[in-house]
Symmetry: C2
Subunit: 386 residues, 2 copies
């Protein structure tokens, strides 16, 4: 007497066969209707089908379709760290592009664990995604397809993978790091620390660090040639340092920070009074005159910048910015709030382009591996005021 004999709930969704029966026709016509081949259907049949679908609340099973045609419109999106605002922003672009291209992104978050990344990559191939966008962690996998080779089509975001020839889209790291470094030099800083996470494995970090050093070296060369104490009237050749911060280990991080701390404290002893006078009521540094003796810290990305800011605040109090200038690649929420200068990445575009590239590969485009390097934008704020 009960409605359905099926134990409980889940009233088993209608299938194409059900619809065919309901509409009094064959499955083929339904399939044609679903795929928009309207020209091959009499208006009358079409109406009946429409009605049947409506009545049964029918929704085609993507899995089955995928199985048959060999493509499921799924792409994998492998993310190293969702905690990084950069990642979320890139994701926006990815979603928009997927939407536009009729793709469905499977988002996988490796949470900075190489093992997770490996597992997810395997899972993705198991679901037969048509391609993957990889913000790599440690993929050395053969799983990924080198342009034109076997494996699954992949495009890289932000970081390249050693030995893998593939499309890559991301920030123009060299230009960005140079932009930041030059900005600091122009603003008169003479003691600059580039702070970055362990960068052997991550190409973008490597490139940024290299560009920083190169720019510092070039500057030093120019100064030396022009003779020390040149026409600029500032403190002469600037000194650059690279500091590696292993954020995964809090204790180690704190230890590493002792070095720049010494520099900061030394600098502030020298010019303590000068600096204090230069500070306006708002708690911001007054600028150039003091910058020659103020130390500048250049964070390679937002997570590093955050860690630095927290440390500096804890050590030097709320007015820490009067003693240190902080500049960062990436432009997180709190940058505006705390007034630090940043280099904003075109994150949305990065994500969008990545999907476009992948889509082309999936459709069989055969060009050789492409690099899409997008420029960063310098957002000057109070921290590096001149």
């Amino acid at each position: 007497m009960s409605a359905t004999p099926t134990s409980r709930s889940a009233p088993r969704r209608a299938t194409i066969t059900d619809v065919a029966r309901e509409a009094g026709t064959g499955k083929t016509s339904i399939s044609r209707y679903l795929n928009g081949e309207m020209s091959a259907l009499s208006p009358e049949l079409r109406a009946r089908i429409e009605a049947a679908i409506e009545r049964l609340d029918y929704q085609p099973n993507q899995m089955a379709r995928g199985l048959k045609r060999g493509r499921n419109r799924l792409i994998g999106m492998l993310l190293a760290d969702l905690t990084n605002p950069y990642t979320v922003e890139v994701l926006q672009g990815v979603e928009a592009a997927c939407h536009a291209l009729g793709l469905m992104p499977l988002i996988c978050h490796a949470a900075n664990e190489v093992e997770m990344e490996r597992r997810y990559l395997q899972l993705l191939t198991t679901y037969r995604v048509e391609g993957v966008i990889v913000n790599a962690l440690g993929v050395r996998e053969e799983t990924l397809r080198p342009v034109g080779g076997g494996g699954i089509p992949a495009v890289l975001v932000d970081r390249s993978v050693d030995g893998l020839v593939a499309d890559i889209v991301g920030l123009d790291n060299r230009a960005a790091a140079e932009l930041g470094t030059r900005h600091l030099l122009e603003r008169g800083f003479r003691d600059i620390w580039f702070v970055v996470q362990p960068f052997e494995q991550v190409s973008s970090r490597r490139l940024r660090e290299a560009a920083f050093r190169e720019t510092m070296r070039a500057q030093a060369g120019a100064r030396t040639q022009a003779g020390s104490g040149g026409a600029d009237g500032d403190g002469g050749v600037a000194r650059g340092h690279t500091l590696v911060l292993n954020l995964a280990d809090a204790a180690q991080t704190e230890e590493s920070l002792a070095e720049p701390d010494r520099a900061i404290e030394a600098a502030n002893v020298t010019t303590a009074t000068k600096a204090k006078e230069a500070v306006d009521a708002a708690g911001h540094p007054a600028g150039a005159p003091g910058n020659a003796s103020r130390v500048a810290v250049f964070a390679a990305n937002a997570p590093v910048a955050l860690r630095l800011a927290l440390h500096l605040k804890a050590r030097y109090g709320a007015a820490w910015q009067t003693r240190v200038a902080l500049l960062s690649i990436d432009d997180p929420d709190w940058a505006e709030l705390t007034g630090i200068t940043t280099i904003r990445q075109p994150t949305y575009d990065i994500g969008y382009r990545a999907v476009e590239f992948l889509h082309e590969r999936i459709e069989g485009v055969q060009t050789s591996a492409r690099d899409c390097l997008l420029p960063g934008e310098l957002m000057v704020r109070a921290s590096t005021a001149s």
Copy 2:
């Protein structure tokens, strides 16, 4: 003479049939091997299968499996706003739980657009996910299954959906808002603004606002009864206001903020000198003595708090915290950095529990709808110093 006749790339993955042939057996045995029914396989056959799989780098097709068994281990995760750190944190918990339960989350980001949400929900059912976790925006959908009814199993996160009886897990909003309000009262604030996004549609916002008002009312009652200017020695009854901020519209937001601004400026005129004296060199408020005349702003969540902080900083300069105290539900990165007091949500647990609930439903648990309300944790920082 070329390796494969197939046009290019994509060397078509091995299927179960290939493996069977390679191992010199039938598909059934392979299937059994894959499903761990080892007891039904002779060690010898097992070894051959193992080898064949290895050799062909075979990976079972989840889609096909799902089609056959009627379950694909996929669950949908519908997110209202990935930009909100809350969301990302919940996601961590979700991922961990999925990992543990052998589920694969399909993450969909509605980016605060109701239309997107609707589309994704439809897409998810199209992929036949076994259930969904919904951080709802405006779902009024019949798509979701009310506990024990038709539709697809769902558990709600943070927000309930009008008219939908379902499991829900999230912050204990009433307790949290009361906790925050009480904290402000205890710290001597007598002019408190609760700031929240339009809350008709979002249950958590509604609850928080109601609890705020209730707590303020209770306090006022107590004061009045005890006679004004009671033994506490502070300014007597505190006034509470609710301000609605539509973050989607910048101009409107700015306009709305004029009201509290007037209050802030009035309060500071009255006690300008007192306040200034009370401020220490670090730029932090000295505490209670000044709090009776300082206004406090209670943000209903992190996005609101950020907007407020940006506005206040723009209007009152870097030392804005000497004029206003900011308290927020949610505990974003920058809270520690800027020293504002917050109520941290047990985000990881929320995500984890949500998946557990969903998993149970999928497995057919039949209890009535459950509410899982987790407590928030007050993180006292300098902004509400006493």
